[in-house]
Point group: D3
């Protein structure tokens, strides 16, 4: 039995509310149960130095947790003077995941910066961030098209992420914090709408895991991703 | 005429919603028009080293702006590796303002850390932060009393803050961003429910100002603070 | 009775010696009783990036305390790897105060950097710094005029600062360290020669204060500033 | 055809030389073709603060590349003042991989720090580091047993890592730099001697990949790991 | 001919004024021509961690230059966020030089921190700092004896430093900035009152130098040091 | 008797192996007994900003120790976030030593960066680094000539370094760690093939030393350097 009484293959309630900030070119607030992440997409002229003059754009991401988004307060990274290894790992993953479904040439020499700020954390914040980042990015690209700044569509596929894990020897979908902190295995799958894999990360937290277990996690992820892809489209009114 | 069509002595619509996060001992979301700040109060055992063994507690504050809380994206302070001078100035002010109305002995050897995170900025974020911080702090103290961890009431007065300025030669209450960015004079008043002054900061941004102008700002602040004190009590259900 | 036996409205002995360093375009050593601050004004070609090509100059300030300028040694900020919040707050205040009386267009595309280094601290270092900074800045502008690098006079008014506070329930002028560390209220007034207010900062350190007390502090500041303006002019030989 | 003329399932020549430094409790130099990593294991009394008094030890890892271990010189991280996100990600992975096969209780309250320094990089440095780290860690544990500082054996399984990728649409084992920089998919598998999975990371660098491709990579990893486990034992003279 | 018209073996005018700050246990202002350094000695209870419980004291030094102590303004190290390599090299040298003539056991478990702050730089600041540091340190030890906190005399010898160089092919004593910036060879000698060498550093800035040249520099240093030792004693009133 | 049974004027066994890395334009591994340093020379287009457009090149050096190159593990500087004062002092010395024998004009507008990484430390790492750096630099210049990127020879002399010290009252050549850690005096001589001195640093670690002792150290250094110059040439096959 899962602490939340969910079925092994049941997602938490997922909601995606768009247009939640006044200034960002794209924005949404995503919830996965008690996990809440505010995501904005900001369009900036110009590209990082390594891309100057190459006729293409760039998409990158930053991630942060509000100090009291967690059960006990974490130190504010700005006060500590640096981003933790975990933060950097997550923001690199978000950026890679998005770039896998973006035609950077179609963006022109501009950069879209995604900011994922966790308001409340109950497990799965990196997956919620990737999922919402795709929505915010899509909205920002829509705006560029409306403003006739670009002609083509830089978004070539959907991308979303979902966590799975082995909890009390049962493979389960969408771990919440209670499950995550005691799961034997934790994994994150970043998948595309057209059925490809962008990134898989699986870790045996408490013990190694078998290939059968891994395949069961993969099946759960496939199922969960399909539901999430539908929610992304619905949030965009498509 | 103010850009927002408000009367010179008219506040923006102010709302204070409490209990907005699941984990913090006290929390609220304050809005002043389009300005939105999420404030949490976290109780921690122990005090900073300079207070060890003195039989008293401590209250301190941290402040941050989400990168895209502003019209154009600002650099994330955690990525920059330090908090700006402005950030430090504001968080020091919030801490001082709260400590002016707290009986630190009554807290016992524990610390309450206030986190003020600006979700959307349209002027007046430091005043909104102080005003909301008092509410979150009160909620956290209520919780300490409920849990019988303290007996007395550490909160000895209300405290709130409001900005005023001279805009197109007219003293006005509660500057929004449009006014703030072109005001001749900008000031912040931190006042207590019992009618005392905790902090006054007034700056001639474009030109020096006269003592008469200053007194007019002070009168506006007194009027605005009274309305805000009522909203604080109402948010606490008193 | 004040620890220094001064009258409530009596300044400490203030001296301003100009031309104290060999290289700086303007310099002076100011003393307020035992407080001593060495101030230099350095002229540099060019302006910060945000002003490039706008046909105007800039004035900015930095502040520091020698490690043993205080009763007990403070950590050297260069060794600590960062400037404290207090240091940043003070240097921002000095810069703002000076810019309020400078015609930045008349400076041309050059920057004047003021360095205020506290040799000995006995209260009032930020006020002494602002007061001396105006003298050093004036000397640097005189030099620019002598060298025919500018034609107009960028200095459009005098500016000086003075602290006041409520000490044992009496409003007093120009707090020294003994008073400052036990005053109920501490305030700094930055005023111009033509009678305007540039900046007011007042804090209830031990308790809130009343508007009457505040007005009494303001009256003391007005009186003190007049004496200081005369000393500034005298230091410049005018 | 692979640039190195290897078969798709063929490892580069792998060598592990032990005892290569005079001071470390355990050490080895591993080569995977032109990739060379020097790994040391250092035993230190005591554990990190979060483990104090829990009756267990700790294993952690640090990773670095010599500035000219790469085709063009990279900036020295010590001079840059921080470790890159990539470096932190790799050293966290090495630490997690080792802890999956160590009985931390059997170590007692001591810490073993693994240092992996890349002398020459030609792809696969993180996998080579993990593989060699297990050898160095085993040597350090042997030394603790010889010195009768511990009685049991903290090493409960072998662990090694290997990269695989899809190169010109063919799944291949053990990518070198030429392959890695143009592969469509890159993956790292951390596996145990007893056949469990500790960590899987797979990224579609150029395009998403299919589940069939992923399974082919997994098969290659299984085959390669078996060869590497034998080399580890041989290096230890078992 | 030297730019200053001095003889090759002639020091600049050297003055040492003691007791120049109100708070430090020892202090002096040293001038070597236009070079001016303010030096304080601060006594602190306790020693650095590596000396805890060893029944001895410690002497260490810090060095800094005011930003406009030089011909053109240098960046403030506190603002830059770190001390330069040159600064660290100099403060390490000052500390070593002093410890060579101090009986650390006689100090007891306390630390004396020397702060050397360059008010105006015209060459030779590190030598002036060492020379003055010995005076400030002696004054601080005198104070400890007066207060009966120590019984013996921790100062076992005098120490002073002087620069020499080959300027236009002539060995000269006590380089000023004009000479230093174009000298072929630059050297610093740290010598004791009893005729020993504590430290020698000689660099061929423009070209290598011969052993004969080096010996000539050494002779000059010996002569100069004798004069400086007399000035140190005179400053202490001995 | 020296711990290593060497004669007072006897070097440890010194070897220099060239071409030890695949990518660097010049490289060698030097050993002085148990001390091992890996040195690479990297050629980069362009020069530091202060040399732009001056028609000359630059040579600079960086130095690091692997964390477990020493008896007990030292903290990794990249993890600590800064290079120690000692590291900076050494890398500045290496750079100065090399530039003393290089015709920077002959290099053209390019920079050669020397990286000295200590694999194992047993005393004398800075001298070994300088000695090997000259070899790596020469190899890199040879490569530039082969590629016809330069016509002249930028290397105008040999340079090498050797340490000497007074150990148990006897001047000895080439201190190893055992001697270094208990020597009364430690010195480093950087000398050129043509018999000039580039840099001398001598420190009385335990006590001051006499000029006679210093001269004896100098004689030893001269003898040792001659042997090392021959080894450098031999390593280059000349």
């Amino acid at each position: 039995m899962r602490p939340s009484n969910r079925q092994p293959d049941q997602l938490r309630k997922v909601t995606i509310e768009t247009g939640v900030t006044r200034y960002a070119e794209g924005s949404c607030l995503i919830t996965f149960g008690h996990t809440k992440v505010l995501v904005t997409a900001s369009v900036e002229q110009g590209v990082p130095p390594f891309l100057k003059g190459k006729g293409q754009g760039w998409v990158t991401a930053e991630y942060g947790m509000l100090p009291r988004s967690t059960h006990t307060r974490s130190r504010r990274e700005a006060a500590a003077g640096k981003q933790s290894g975990r933060t950097q790992e997550i923001q690199r993953l978000i950026g890679r995941s998005l770039r896998a479904v973006v035609d950077l040439k179609a963006l022109g020499e501009r950069q879209i910066i995604i900011d994922c700020d966790v308001i409340q954390a109950d497990g799965g914040t990196r997956c919620a961030s990737i999922t919402a980042a795709w929505v915010a990015l899509s909205l920002a690209c829509d705006k560029l098209k409306e403003q006739k700044l670009i002609t083509g569509n830089p978004i070539i596929d959907q991308v979303a992420a979902i966590s799975c894990g082995v909890y009390e020897n049962t493979p389960v979908l969408d771990l919440d914090y209670d499950e995550d902190s005691s799961a034997e295995t934790d994994s994150n799958f970043v998948l595309t709408g057209s059925g490809h894999i962008v990134e898989v990360q699986a870790t045996g937290e408490k013990r190694g895991f078998s290939r059968d277990e891994f395949n069961a996690l993969f099946d759960l992820a496939d199922k969960g991703a399909k539901e999430i892809f539908a929610l992304q489209l619905s949030a965009l009114g498509r």
